[in-house]
Amino acid sequence: MALSNPTNQKKFLSPEDIDVLVEIIKKYNLGPTEFFDNPEVEKMLSKAKTPEERIKIIKDLPFNKIIDKLEEILRGESSLDDLSSFLKKDLNLSLFTAEKIAKEIKERIFSIVPEKKEVLEKPTEPKRDIYREPIE
């Protein structure tokens, strides 16, 4: 169930939220989201010599990093506005990609619809018609 807003009481992502996140990660090719029976993960972990090293490798996966960040946001320890800069900085993404991912996460996990820019129809002053102005 997608979250209705970031300020609700929930402090952890639900399995459905994680499903959405997995979709986004796969879409932007950010790394593995399945672990067992995944040759990529096996290869990464085979380099590690100790359990601690394996834990570090898994924790550093974008999947886990993003979840940690999102849960921080849910707990109120971080702001949703910082998400794009986090993605850019910690995952080495371009600003454009980071903002795109952040936008999608906000919409699909936090259910935040971007506010439509209000078109203010200010009465504009009619341009002066220099030709019709009375000659002072």
């Binding site: 402090k11 952890f12 992502l13 399995p15 459905e16 994680i18 997995v22 989201t33 399945e34 672990f35 067992f36 029976d37 096996e42 972990l45 085979s46 359990p51 601690e52 394996r54 834990i55 898994i58 999947f63 886990n64 979840i67």
Partner: protein
């Protein structure tokens, strides 16, 4: 022509018989009612004149009148008197008395009576045959069955017989002691290899105690039987059944029975038959003489006035003797079954004592595997209840025997027959009709016999399982006899002389064909007959105004306790559904659970209550784990709900036998048919069993990870860790979801290689387990399985 001759000869002898009877009957006087309004209340006569002796009758001269020879029938007390006439004039008055001085009416009536003899005579002999059969059965009961049953009880209530099995017991004990050595070796190995289910901490002490008790099992069992016998003796003496004499100080003989009390039962039956019941047979000849009243509802010509059809009334009288005989047979068969229970008790107890060492040993080493290797009576769980049940079976049986004898005596004494005095009370307004008086007269002696038989029957029904089947057999025989009577009576009423003779033969032939099986038609006839009796008799009783206050009071008293009394008998599905709804509504979940656990509730009602609890999602683990509930699930009715219950508690599957394979259910068999939606309902206790989670499909595991409660998810996580410990020999930290995740990552290579190894296994269940391990492992690492 030959048939015609036979009929004429039969008729001639019948006439002689009637004349003989007229001369003989009513040699003594009787006490009759006087039509004094002060002698009657709304509920009946103030004095029961018809049961009084001559002196007593004369002492109540304001309400009663002693009618001696020559005074009956036409006298002041004539109305209502049915069998007391003792002269030919009395007899003529009874059959044609209303003709008064109308000579033509007299001639027509007498001729009509002679014609009705064609029907009366065969029905008389038919009734006589029933009476003879009843007498024969009473004699057989008294002289054959009672001594045999007494001997069987004697034999069962002594302890000498059990010494004969001591050699067998010793052999079994030696075998058990050898088993102790094997069990100790198993415990030792299990302790070395840290195999917790057989660890020494769990079993060493209890096994040692059991090994000691094995040596004393014979003495323990024998002492328990002595206690049970003494208890039975005490209760027998308390109820004054007159059957048991405790052998105080007797070395080994225990108790001695004689069943003297039961001989009195057959004396009472004999007296009931010949003193209260048999005089009714003469009514076949003394009820009215007019042909219209004989076949239709026309008014009769005799005194007292009787509403026809007379043929039905006399057929009822004739049949009543067969019913009495049938009840005597019932008493005999039930009594014989009573004796057989004691015989089987002895055999059963001997067998249970012989295997007692193994049972004692299994009490000290109660693992699931041991229960499967030594099932039922070889296991303590099956042995102990069976031993107690059979040792003390005498207690309920003796109580029911005592109650039955009391009932027979009391009800026999409280059932004065109108026939005994040959006179019914006169009509007091609409209080009692002649016909209803007659029906009461016919059926009251049945109550006493029936009460005795039912009491004995209930006693046997309370015995352990095997005897219930014997009782069902008794019912089969009784149904057949009832059917035979119905066939004979139906034919007798509808087809006259020849048909009646044939009917008697048909009845007799049917009785002889007991072993040949029940024919559908006969059974249906029997059912219809019994059904109409069941419907007709209470209806007739209700019509008797004098009984109404009593019936109403009884109904009022019974109203609050009726639901309790009714529960064991609520067997109709629709009725059970309504009762289940009512209990659930009034007493809630706890009340419903208590009702399901009760022994005194029908299985149908239990089933409906269980269905209700399951529908509402209120079936508690406490109820599921209770012995009473599990016993119910093993019944025919309970087995309908077994799979649904096991879907909630898959861990309990091995405790129940799968009727298709005749082996205990496996968790896999239960999980096989479960949808992911069902899987979410699996209880936490079941999910804590590695055997259950191992048998799950990846879809079922996924359903719980996504849709399960916090407790279910935690259980899945912990059980996953246990499975990994067993399969990969890796210990995972399950204290928090984060720690579990980290430890799964730490053990990733070991878990992955375990998954790969299981996939290569030739066993499909290993492959399935591998998929489950992958699914839950990914759920843990993918942070979907958490229990915050």
């Amino acid at each position: 022509m030959k048939i015609f001759k036979k009929i004429l000869i039969g008729f001639f002898f019948g006439l002689i018989f009637v004349l003989f009877w007229i001369g003989k009957a009513g040699a003594e006087g009787y006490c009759s009612y006087l039509p004094n309004p002060e002698c009657y209340t709304d509920i009946g006569p103030v004095v029961d004149c018809h049961v009084l002796s001559e002196e007593e009758c004369k002492a109540h001269s304001d309400c009663c009148q002693w009618v001696t020879e020559g005074e009956g029938g036409g006298g002041g007390g004539g109305e209502g008197c049915t069998g007391g006439g003792n002269t030919i004039w009395d007899f003529l008055n009874q059959i044609c008395g209303s003709c008064s001085i109308n000579i033509i009416c007299w001639i027509e009536c007498i001729l009509g009576y002679i014609i009705t003899l064609f029907f009366r005579l065969p029905l008389f002999f038919f009734g006589l045959l029933g009476a003879a059969l009843a007498a024969l059965l009473i004699l057989i009961g008294d002289k054959v069955i009672v001594p045999i049953v007494a001997q069987l009880m004697d034999l069962s209530l002594t302890t000498l017989i059990y010494d004969k099995v001591k050699d067998t017991w010793e052999s079994v004990r030696n075998f058990s002691l050898e088993l102790v050595g094997i069990f100790l070796a198993i415990i030792g190995l299990a302790t070395i290899f840290r195999f917790v289910p057989y660890h020494a901490r769990r079993f060493f002490v209890s096994l040692c105690i059991a090994a000691i008790l094995v040596n004393f099992s014979f003495a323990i069992c024998k002492e328990l039987i002595v206690v049970a016998n003494d208890f039975t003796a005490g209760i027998g003496n308390y109820f004054n059944v007159g059957i048991i004499t405790a052998q105080v100080g007797g070395v080994e003989s225990g108790v001695k029975s004689s069943l003297e009390g039961f001989e009195n039962v057959f004396d009472t039956l004999w007296k009931t038959l010949f003193e209260q019941f048999f005089p009714n047979i003469w009514k076949i000849f003394t009820i009215d003489g007019s042909i219209p009243a004989f076949f239709t509802t026309a008014e009769s010509l005799g005194q007292p006035k009787v509403t026809g059809p007379i043929l039905i009334i006399i057929a009822l009288i004739a049949t009543s003797f067969w019913i009495f005989a049938f009840l005597c047979l019932y008493v005999i068969v039930v009594l014989a079954a009573f004796g057989v229970v004691f015989l089987i008790r002895m055999v059963f107890l001997a067998a249970l004592i012989a295997v007692a060492p193994i049972a004692f040993l299994t009490a000290g080493f109660a693992t699931r595997e041991i229960k499967q290797i030594f099932p039922q009576f070889l296991n303590w769980d099956g042995w102990w209840p069976a031993f107690l049940e059979w040792a003390f079976i005498g207690v309920p049986l003796i109580i029911w025997l005592g109650v039955g004898v009391f009932l027979l005596k009391d009800l026999s004494a409280a059932a004065p027959s109108f026939a005994a005095g040959g006179c019914a009370p006169p009509n007091v307004g609409a209080a009692m009709t002649w016909a209803s008086g007659l029906i009461l007269d016919l059926f009251r002696p049945f109550l006493a016999v029936l009460a005795l038989a039912v009491a004995l029957h209930l006693g046997i029904k309370s015995s352990p399982g095997m005897m219930r089947q014997a009782v069902e057999g008794i019912f089969g025989v009784l149904k057949l006899v009832t059917g035979a009577i119905a066939v004979a009576v139906t034919a007798a009423v509808t087809a006259g002389v020849g048909a009646a003779a044939g009917a008697a033969a048909a009845g007799a032939s049917k009785l002889g064909a007991i072993g040949a099986g029940l024919k559908a038609g006969t059974l249906e006839g029997g059912r219809a007959f019994v059904g109409s009796l069941a419907k007709g008799v209470p209806g007739e009783l209700k019509r008797v105004e004098v009984l109404k206050p009593g019936v109403e009071v009884a109904e009022e008293v019974a109203k609050p306790i009726m639901p309790w009394i009714k529960r064991p008998f609520v067997r109709e599905r629709e009725e059970a559904e309504k009762e289940a709804e009512r209990i659930y509504k009034e007493k809630g979940v706890k009340g419903a659970e208590e009702t399901i656990k009760s022994k005194y509730v029908s299985d149908t009602l239990k089933g409906e209550l269980l269905a209700k609890l399951m529908k509402e999602g209120k079936l508690s683990d406490e109820l599921i784990e209770s012995k009473e509930f599990q016993d119910f699930l093993k019944t025919k009715e309970g087995s309908k709900y077994l799979k649904d219950v096991l879907k909630l508690r898959v861990d309990l599957a091995p405790q129940f036998v799968n009727p298709e394979t005749n082996r205990p259910f496996t968790p896999k068999e239960i999980l096989k048919g479960m949808t992911p939606k069902d899987a979410v309902k699996i209880r936490v206790k079941a999910l804590l069993e590695p055997e259950v989670v191992s048998a799950m499909s990846p879809e079922q595991a996924r359903a719980i990870v996504r849709g399960g409660s916090v407790a279910q998810k935690e259980a899945i996580g912990k059980t996953y860790a246990e499975i990994i410990r067993r399969e990969a020999n890796v210990v995972l930290d399950t204290s928090t979801p984060e720690r579990l995740r980290d430890s799964v990552v730490g053990a990733f290579p070991a878990i992955q290689s375990t998954i790969d190894r299981l996939r290569r296994s030739p066993h499909p269940e290993d492959v399935s387990r591998a998929e489950m391990l992958r699914e839950i492992g990914n759920a843990i690492l993918g942070r979907r399985l958490t229990w915050h």
